[in-house]
């Protein structure tokens, strides 16, 4: 259900086009926002429990009744969210007030509007643009501005350090990510998200899905390059120098508290979803079913998309609790001297493969 379809559906679209557009956008945006909120709760809970199992702990446990009973502690993330909302809102006296207040919103916007191009299912996409994946890559760079604003306006050397490192990291890792997507676009000849998924329909040898990850060895490598660059863009370990707890306390977000901090948190998780969603779409077939013939309906499509994305998010969480973190200059040299050359070679390779082997 795209915005365009919604506009056509409204009976008043002819007389008040502006109002109709506004309504249509709101009707699409509010569920996305709610989805991000609920998804963040789920992923926070998942991170706590998964990390606990990996670290031989028990994690959040329940001592109450209903949802908060037994060993599941399901209300823990709700408690966390409530706590963050109810906290005192502290703005340091020497901070730059306007920028300080504006920063979380810009970071969040960068992650939020990328959701409009994610194909949740065959029919469930807010705007099926013909520049879909390009749009997502472009828009997710908005977050950098917000981060630098946050670091600068806190008037705190630690935050400045964190913001500078973070900006350098995100901007650098955009390049291997974009180059890997170019390898995909070369094959699919379209940048539209639905178009990329359509290209991956069908099955090789009857059972292996025609996903781009299986298509040729260069896109196989491109998947890993894209995924790792995505993890770096989200500032997750092993690339979480900007928020390295044991070094810079909380990096760029040291001075934030309460709801503003919650916004940064939310946008980090939203970013994770976008990266995982794009990886699932471009390389793993999006909402397509891996089993030939069945589970093809739009409802099943939503299920397949969500499960592929959630699996990739699980892998990101797994990374965080396994690896130590890389130092800033090692990060940057890995990007510029490692990933970017490999991504460039990939592009060549895909072209040559396509020309020679069809």
């Amino acid at each position: 259900m795209t915005v365009d379809q919604l506009i056509d559906w409204f009976p008043i679209s002819a007389t008040w086009p502006g109002l109709t557009f506004l309504l249509a956008v709101l009707i699409c945006a509010v569920p996305v926002f709610l989805f991000i909120a609920v998804y963040a709760l789920v992923v926070i809970y998942g991170e706590l429990k998964i990390s606990s199992f990996m670290q031989d702990k028990v994690g959040p446990m329940g001592q109450g009744v209903g949802l908060h009973a037994w060993r599941w502690g399901l209300l823990q993330p709700v408690a966390d969210a409530l706590k963050l909302i109810l906290k005192e809102d502290i703005i340091p006296a020497s901070a730059d007030k306007k920028l300080f207040i504006l920063a979380p919103f810009i970071v969040f916007i960068g992650a939020f509007i990328a959701f409009s191009a994610l194909p949740f299912s065959q029919t469930l996409i807010i705007a099926d643009m013909n520049i879909g994946v390009f749009y997502i890559l472009a828009v997710s760079s908005l977050g950098v501005i917000g981060l630098i604003m946050a670091g600068w306006s806190s008037n705190n050397k630690w935050s400045l350090y964190g913001a500078m490192r973070s900006a350098a990291q995100i901007i650098s890792y955009e390049i291997p990510a974009a180059l890997s997507i170019i390898a995909v676009i070369m094959l699919t000849s379209t940048m539209s998200m639905q178009g990329i998924i359509q290209y991956q329909s069908g099955f090789i040898w009857g059972f292996l899905p025609n996903w781009l990850i299986f298509n040729n060895p260069f896109t196989f490598v491109a998947f890993f390059i894209f995924f790792i660059s995505g993890v770096a863009e989200c500032n997750r370990t092993p690339f979480d120098i900007p928020e390295a707890e044991s070094e810079l306390v909380a990096g760029a977000f040291t001075e934030y508290s309460g709801m503003r901090y919650a916004f940064f948190f939310l946008s980090e998780y939203a970013n994770m979803f976008v990266v995982a969603g794009v990886a699932a779409t471009a390389f793993l077939g999006g909402w397509q079913s891996p089993i030939p013939g069945i589970f093809n309906s739009p409802a099943w499509g939503l299920w397949w998309f969500m499960s592929k994305t959630m699996f990739l998010i699980f892998v990101m969480i797994w990374f965080r609790w396994t690896f130590p973190r890389l130092r800033v200059d090692q990060l940057m040299s890995a990007c510029w001297k490692g990933f970017t050359p490999i991504a460039l070679v990939n592009i060549f390779g895909v072209g040559i493969w396509y020309l020679t082997l069809g």
Binding site: S51, K57, P238, S246, W321, F323, P324, R325, R327
Partner: protein
């Protein structure tokens, strides 16, 4: 830019303040500012009896309390020429070595935490809990024991102690291999720590660095072998020395790896001690009724998990020490921080500080 790390900071291992002068990310000068945990230990000792000093020594290096006690009682017993029964000697060695393993586990775990590896920290603490349970079984305390007294120990070993420690050793030895797999030879960890903060042997000796820090630079010096005390001569164990396996000799990785190997050596000593410990004996036999050492002074060093722990005791014949000075190994280790981390990046300063394994209680006393 002048940055201030601490005194409240997640990875300064206590209340330590570091004044760092940076040029971008490169550090040009570090000044450690200590004294936040100064509790006038030495002045208190002048107003307490010799027995009452022992709990004070516990609280200096609170992570390796048994070894602190051990150093003090060894010095006192040499001053007073007391010889303790065999069983007491074996008990002391067992406790000291168990505490060495516990202290190294904490040092290695928190070091992993400093460089970003959250999981090994919890695994090592889980194993450290088992050691603390053994201590609780023996003397009732988990961290500060007041266990070793001049002339004996406070409590005899409980029933089933030997078996408990054997179980722990059987459980623990394969774990060290696990830690090597997950952290020591992890590529990212090696990149963070190899070739970083190289400590040359001459610099180390001039700065008075000792223990695993000195051994990581290739100098084979262990008080248990070179100036033996108690019954350490009877045990057969190696002294691991840094060899620059994955980088320069004397870098952070070497100091880390020396501690890992030392844990294995401690398990060897423990096994030998448990086999030979005399089955019976009164641990309170040689306790003097009143501690009145003859006039004189003594300086005695023992090997604590952090290095050479020295006690300089001056006695004037009364039941209270005239002067008691504790020479702590972490004090000297911290003084070398400026020397070895100049020219590196800010993240490396944290890595180097973690590898020196300091405890502020010992530095400030």
């Amino acid at each position: 830019m002048v940055l201030n790390i601490g005194p409240q900071h997640p990875s300064t291992h206590g209340v330590l303040r570091l004044k760092v002068v940076t040029d971008g990310e490169i550090v040009s000068d570090i000044t450690p500012i200590i004294g936040y945990l100064h509790r006038c230990f030495e002045k208190h000792c002048e107003n307490s009896t010799y027995e009452q000093v022992i709990p004070y020594t516990d609280r200096c290096d609170y992570i390796a309390s048994m070894n602190n006690n051990f150093g003090y009682v060894v010095a006192m017993e040499e001053l007073m020429e007391i010889k303790v029964p065999e069983r007491v000697e074996y008990i002391r060695v067992i406790m000291a070595e168990l505490n060495r393993i516990a202290s190294h586990l904490l040092a290695l775990g928190t070091y992993g935490l400093d460089v970003g590896a959250f999981t090994p920290f919890l695994y090592m603490f889980r194993d450290r809990e088992r050691i603390l349970d053994i201590f609780e079984l023996t003397c009732g305390a988990r961290l500060l024991y007041n266990y070793m007294w001049v002339g004996g120990v406070s409590h005899d070993l409980p029933v089933g102690f030997v078996e408990t420690v054997y179980n722990f050793l059987d459980y623990f030895e394969p774990k060290v291999q696990e830690y090597n797999d997950i952290l020591t030879f992890n590529k990212i960890f090696i990149e963070r720590t190899a070739d970083v903060g190289v400590l040359l042997p001459e610099v180390a000796i001039s700065f008075g660095v000792s223990g695993p820090n000195l051994r990581g630079s290739g100098v084979k010096w262990d008080i248990r072998k070179d100036e033996p005390y108690s019954i350490y001569e009877r045990f057969d164990f190696d002294v691991p020395v840094g060899q620059g396996l994955v980088g320069t000799m004397g870098d952070c990785w070497d100091r880390f790896y020396v501690r890992v190997l030392e844990m294995i050596e401690s398990t060897k000593i423990l096994r030998q001690a448990l086999k030979d410990i005399p089955a019976n004996g009164d641990v309170h036999q040689a306790l003097p009724k009143k501690i009145r050492p003859p006039k004189g002074s003594i300086y005695r060093r023992t090997e604590s998990p952090r290095g050479d722990l020295g006690y300089y005791i001056i006695s004037d014949g009364s039941p209270q020490p005239y002067r008691l000075k504790m020479r702590s190994p972490a004090f000297t280790a911290l003084s070398v921080l400026n020397e070895i981390s100049r020219g590196w990046m800010l993240s490396d300063v944290i890595a180097v500080l973690g590898s020196l394994d300091i405890v502020l209680g010992e530095i400030d006393r």
